[in-house]
């Protein structure tokens, strides 16, 4: 039996099939139950063993070959059909995407998290206190007796006192320092805490708002010195401002609740309006600090003959402005959407020391 002709006929028919149905017709004609090749296979039974052997092998080769051709053609037709469909499936990829909400974290909150990360590493925990404060915690306990001139310099907001209530009026805390007293009274010594939070002073102009934020630092132990204070502040500034080197200058000053007291300046340069910390020849005051006054320790029930240590207070808004180049303090509290989006931080941008504070 000559299969060459048969082969030629079906290979050509497969090639010519233009769609799936005509291809199916070819398949049925060749390999279907009644197909030409199938019928030929059926005749094998009637052949002699020798004939069957040679014819059978040849038929099988042919069948496999045509089957493969059919499959290949089928795939080709499917691909062509898909390609045709894809051509019509065009979308404008430049079209606006579906909106996803993007919130922001306020810079003050972000910086508070940065402060926590830095001071936690140095063993400080976070303490809190009420914002309406008794004048004892805000002043007396901090060695500011009623007639002390420093009280006048605090521009204090006083809470209303009801008729017949003869206690001195409560105040909106003018600093975070009362938290020192509360923390020491509660936990005793040794202690290391920071206390960030809102504070209030009756002052409103270009560079002052009646509410702002401070972070208090307190470290009490048996042998803490002002030299330790300087190191802690240097480390803090280096980590916070993310520069390799910072230079701090301690200047003698006075706070009733510390003795000795120092105001601390940081070296910076101003290059074309951009402030750079750690270089240049200018000094900017960034915080007040000192060794906790024995009377303050006493007020909090800590024996000053046994314990000593330092405290400091930093304006959070101020160092935020410095670090992130935010020009105006008042804008912090206005909730201007443009400002919040521009200066805000992503929710997932959690400051930590391994990953770096600002990313």
């Amino acid at each position: 039996m000559d299969l060459t002709e048969l082969r030629g006929k079906y290979i050509e028919a497969v090639a010519k099939a233009a769609d799936e149905s005509s291809l199916e017709e070819v398949r049925l004609a060749a390999l279907g139950k009644k197909g030409e090749i199938s019928l030929l296979m059926a005749t094998l039974g009637k052949m002699s063993p020798e004939e069957r052997k040679s014819q059978g092998a040849a038929l099988n080769v042919l069948k496999t070959e045509i089957d493969a051709a059919l499959r290949a053609k089928k795939q080709g037709l499917a691909d062509a059909a898909l390609n045709e469909r894809l051509k019509s499936e065009w979308l404008d990829v430049t079209l606006t995407s579906r909106p996803r909400p993007m919130g922001t974290i306020h810079p003050v909150s972000q910086v508070m998290d940065e402060l926590t990360a830095i001071f936690a590493d140095m063993g400080f925990s976070v303490a809190e206190g009420p914002q309406v404060e008794s004048d004892w915690y805000n002043f007396d306990a901090l060695n500011i007796p009623p007639e002390h001139p420093a009280r006048q310099e605090h521009d204090t907001f006083f809470m209303h006192r009801a008729e017949g209530d003869d206690r001195p009026p409560h105040v909106l805390r003018t600093h975070t320092s009362p938290v020192q007293i509360r923390a020491m009274t509660e936990k005793g010594a040794p202690i290391r805490v920071i206390a960030p939070g809102r504070v209030y002073r009756m002052d409103m102009d270009q560079t002052h708002t009646p509410m702002f934020h401070q972070v208090e630092g307190l470290c009490i132990d048996r042998d803490i010195s002002m030299a330790n204070l300087k190191w802690v502040l240097e480390e803090f500034c280096r980590a916070f401002f993310e520069v390799d080197k910072v230079e701090l200058r301690f200047r003698a000053s006075h706070f009733p609740f510390t003795e000795p007291s120092a105001e601390v300046d940081i070296r910076y340069s101003n290059v074309g309006g951009q402030l750079r910390i750690g270089e240049g020849d200018k000094w900017m005051e960034i915080l007040g600090s000192g060794m906790v006054h024995p009377k303050v320790l006493q007020a909090a029930g800590v024996d000053p003959n046994e314990w000593q240590g330092f405290a400091f207070g930093v304006g959070i808004d101020r160092i935020t402005m410095l670090k992130y180049g935010i020009p105006d303090l008042r804008s912090f509290f206005e909730g201007d959407l443009r400002w919040l989006r521009h200066y805000g931080f992503s929710a997932l941008n959690m400051p930590d020391l391994p990953g770096g504070l600002s990313r």
């Binding site: 063993g123 809190e128 209303h160 809102r198 330790n228 929710a347």
Partner: protein, 803 residues
């Protein structure tokens, strides 16, 4: 506190440069705020000589001068009438900035003649208002710097003025002598002693002084005075006027200027009465009865309150003790007989009166911080001498009542403690030398502070004195050892951790976090259940900030209104912060509040935009609660506060514990804040979410069934007022082991629904997921559960399965 360098040098013998003095002052704690050095603007100018002057060819009033300068002969065109050959002048060269005309000179051509600079008038150099001609110097060499000439011949004109900030503990530095003492202790020179003259009065003072017994103990322990007769008052000498002007004081007359001179020079405020205007021959220092009127030197009339300290004669109050003298008995140019007062006024009494009457004066400023009680008489003697020197006259004997208070006290100097506190190795000898230089008396290890240092009240103050003189700038940082070995423990309290979680979650949900003021306007506070007197700020800074906020929404709505007026209509604002329930410490709680206004998204081709509604706010509240660890099942009630829409808001809680409120804000509130568009919000009470009872990181074991879960849908017709949660809870209760979840997937309400199902009806569609655990569900099992669900829901809602 302001002073000039030459004035300082009256008290300090020093060769130190101005820069060294400035540095030392700031380093010692006397922070230099500003230095005005008039020499700086005059530095470029040199002395020159006019060799020849001739008429300008084209201008009548101009002269062409040949001027000999340090750079040779120059041609200068000059319009001054006194420009002539032979005079010594002040030269400004091309390139120099001339302050009085605010101009930097160039080489000019004036009517065709080149001019190489100018010869200056006093006004052009801001030396005086004189402008009739150019300066003619009586001496000076060509090429000499003009400021050098001024320093020798008119030192007051180039005297640098230094303005320092004085901390409240340093009244002694409110006198130049005290500042000099600090600098001397630092090693910047030698403190010149104040020589007190012994003045013998030649007649008894015709005016007596008398301290009321009520004030002897405290208000005024010591009052001294004396009369000086036959004085000639008038303008004070130029050198004194120059110094007073340099520190911003207006010269008035010699007598008054002398009191100011002592106030600033020696921190010894004085007062001068015109003795002829004091009636009755006695000055009484007494507490006011209240109601007395007093015309003060500032021209204002004050009404005294009972207890304020006053100095009175027969006619009435003549002076407000330690604060301000009276107009009536004040000195004028005609004063011939003057009564000079030097007294010690108690700081607290002075401060109280000054504050009550709102009078600020240089005297009050000093007395309320504490002047040297031992210097009352020496100050009087010194001032008497100066009056005699400058005004002539004859001094009476002293008129004194009371005596200087004894301030003697001493504290132990523990040099080792100083070193331990400061962390700097300051040898004991240096510590003692510093204290001695500051006027302390050392007796063994006990140090007695000088009478002018009322602030030194303990050992710690000695440490401060030693440290600041030694210079804290020299302090070298020393590492703080770690508090504990090993990996640090967590340091945030659970609430602090929660605050952080709430904040970050809310930002994740798309809100922009704001920080708004803790105080708001009264009307705003009232809208949110606040505004009571207990939360009222007694001295608010503006009418917008009078009451502590009862709720964070007020501040956010205000911010929203501002944003809307800028054209931002769709907003998602949030704040996490304190709200106040009362005026006592601790009457505050932490709120996490989100506010959605307008639409959820900008317009886009996908139709994403729709108005925000309460289900947005509810979803966000639930997300925050979930992040804080709230239980999965909570109750929802309608007991909302007044500022929420009564029908479109709810409370999420457990029993009486309110964890969150969500919903539409009351239209009335929105109108008050002028908010446009729909506004929904949520408030989470962060601390009210229950904390987990067992704190372990281990999770319960996960049980997963391999058996196929089945979902079945049910629609019920119920009354329109029936709440979906009733149906959900009822369905859930039908079979607690088999029913995994029940969810509302549709509701059908409104006119069309009522048309189909009857008036006042709606339909709710639930999908129930059944999860078998031990065997695959048969159709019969499912039917049995379904029947139970229908029964339970129908019973709970009063509705029926929708046919």
């Amino acid at each position: 506190m302001k002073f000039t360098l030459s004035w300082l040098k009256d008290h300090l013998e020093t060769d130190a440069s101005l820069a060294d003095i400035e540095y030392a002052l700031t380093d010692l704690g006397l922070e230099v705020e500003e230095t005005v050095n008039p020499a700086a603007k005059l530095a470029p100018f040199t002395i020159a000589k006019v060799l020849h002057a001739e008429q300008h060819p084209d201008a009548d009033r101009l002269r062409v001068c040949k001027v000999l300068t340090d750079e040779g002969e120059k041609q200068i065109v000059c319009g001054a009438p006194n420009a002539r050959a032979g005079i010594t002048v002040v030269l400004c060269k091309p390139g120099d900035y001339v302050p009085g005309i605010d101009t930097t000179l160039g080489i000019g051509k004036i009517r065709g003649v080149e001019s190489h600079g100018m010869m200056a008038s006093e006004r052009e150099l801001e030396l005086s208002d004189e402008h009739n001609g150019i300066i003619e110097l009586p001496s000076g060499e060509v090429g000499q710097k003009f400021i050098d000439w001024l320093a020798i011949n008119r030192p007051g004109t180039v005297d640098p003025m230094i303005h320092i900030k004085i901390t409240p503990n340093r009244p002694d530095a409110l006198g130049i002598h005290g500042i000099a003492r600090d600098l001397a202790a630092r090693g910047l020179g030698r403190l010149k002693a104040v020589e007190v003259p012994a003045i013998t009065g030649s007649f008894p003072s015709p005016i007596r002084v008398e301290i009321d017994p009520a004030l002897r103990e405290k208000g005024c322990p010591h009052f001294a005075g004396r009369l000086i007769r036959g004085v000639k008052n008038g303008p004070s000498p130029a050198w004194m006027q120059q110094r007073l002007k340099a520190i911003g004081l207006r010269p008035i007359s010699t007598l008054v200027d002398i009191t100011n001179y002592f106030t600033f020079g020696l921190n010894r405020p004085l007062h001068v009465f015109d003795a002829d205007k004091v009636s009755g021959g006695v000055l009484r220092i007494h507490p006011a009865q209240g109601g007395e009127e007093f015309l003060a030197l500032d021209g204002k009339t004050y009404t005294l309150r009972a207890g304020m300290m006053a100095i009175s004669d027969e006619a009435g109050v003549e002076s407000l003790a330690g604060i301000m003298g009276g107009e009536v008995s004040g000195c004028s140019d005609d004063t011939v007989n003057v009564f000079l007062e030097s007294a010690y006024w108690d700081p607290i009494t002075t401060a109280t009166t000054g504050r009550a009457l709102k009078i600020n004066s240089d005297a009050r400023y000093r007395f309320e911080r504490g002047v040297d009680p031992a210097f009352t008489l020496p100050g009087l003697e010194l001032a008497t001498q100066m009056i005699l020197d400058l005004c002539g006259g004859e001094a009476s004997e002293l008129a004194v009542d009371g005596a200087a208070i004894d301030t003697t006290r001493s504290y132990k100097l523990d040099p080792a403690r100083v070193i331990s506190l400061v962390g700097m190795d300051i040898p004991e000898a240096e510590q003692r030398a510093t204290l001695t230089a500051l006027g302390f008396t050392l007796n063994g290890d006990m140090a007695t502070p000088p009478s002018w240092r009322p602030d030194v009240l303990g050992e710690a103050d000695l440490v401060e004195e030693v440290a600041r003189v030694a210079s804290l700038t020299k302090l070298v940082g020393k590492p703080l050892r770690r508090a504990a070995a090993g990996v640090p423990k967590p340091i945030l309290t659970p609430l602090q951790q929660r605050e952080k979680t709430a904040r970050r979650t809310i930002a994740m949900l798309g809100y922009n976090e704001c920080v708004t003021y803790s105080f708001i306007a009264e009307e705003a506070a009232k809208l949110f259940g606040g505004g009571q007197d207990a939360v009222r700020v007694e001295n608010p800074i503006s009418s917008e900030m009078t009451h502590l906020r009862p709720d964070l929404l007020a501040g956010l709505l205000k911010a929203a209104e501002r944003n809307q007026s800028r054209g931002f209509m769709d907003l998602a604002l949030a704040e996490i912060g304190p709200a106040f329930t009362g005026g006592e410490p601790g009457d505050q709680h932490l709120q996490a509040t989100g506010l959605l206004i307008g639409s959820n998204a900008p317009r886009d081709p996908h139709g994403s935009r729709r108005p925000v509604d309460i289900y947005d706010a509810k979803a966000d509240a639930e997300a925050v609660l979930a992040a804080l660890g709230a239980p999965a099942r909570m109750q929802i009630t309608r007991k909302v506060a007044d500022w929420w829409h009564p029908g479109r808001s709810g409370v999420i809680g457990l029993g009486p514990n309110v964890m969150a409120t969500f919903g539409e804000i009351h239209p009335k509130v929105l109108r008050a804040f002028d908010i446009k568009g729909p506004a929904v919000a949520f408030t989470v009470r962060v601390a009210n979410v229950p904390y987990p009872k067992v704190k372990t990181p281990t999770r319960p074991a996960l049980t997963i069934s391999d058996l196929q879960a089945v979902e079945r849908d049910f629609a019920f017709v119920v009354d329109a007022g029936v709440e979906a949660l009733t149906a959900v809870n009822a369905a859930q209760g039908a079979d607690k082991t088999l029913i995994e979840s029940v969810r509302v997937f549709d509701q059908f309400t409104g006119e069309k629904a009522e048309a189909q199902m009857g008036a006042g009806k709606k339909s709710i569609a639930l999908t129930v997921r059944l999860q078998p655990n031990d065997k695959t569900l048969t159709e019969a099992d499912i039917e049995a559960v379904s029947a139970k669900i229908v029964e339970k829901v129908s019973k709970a809602t009063g509705g029926a399965l929708r046919g």
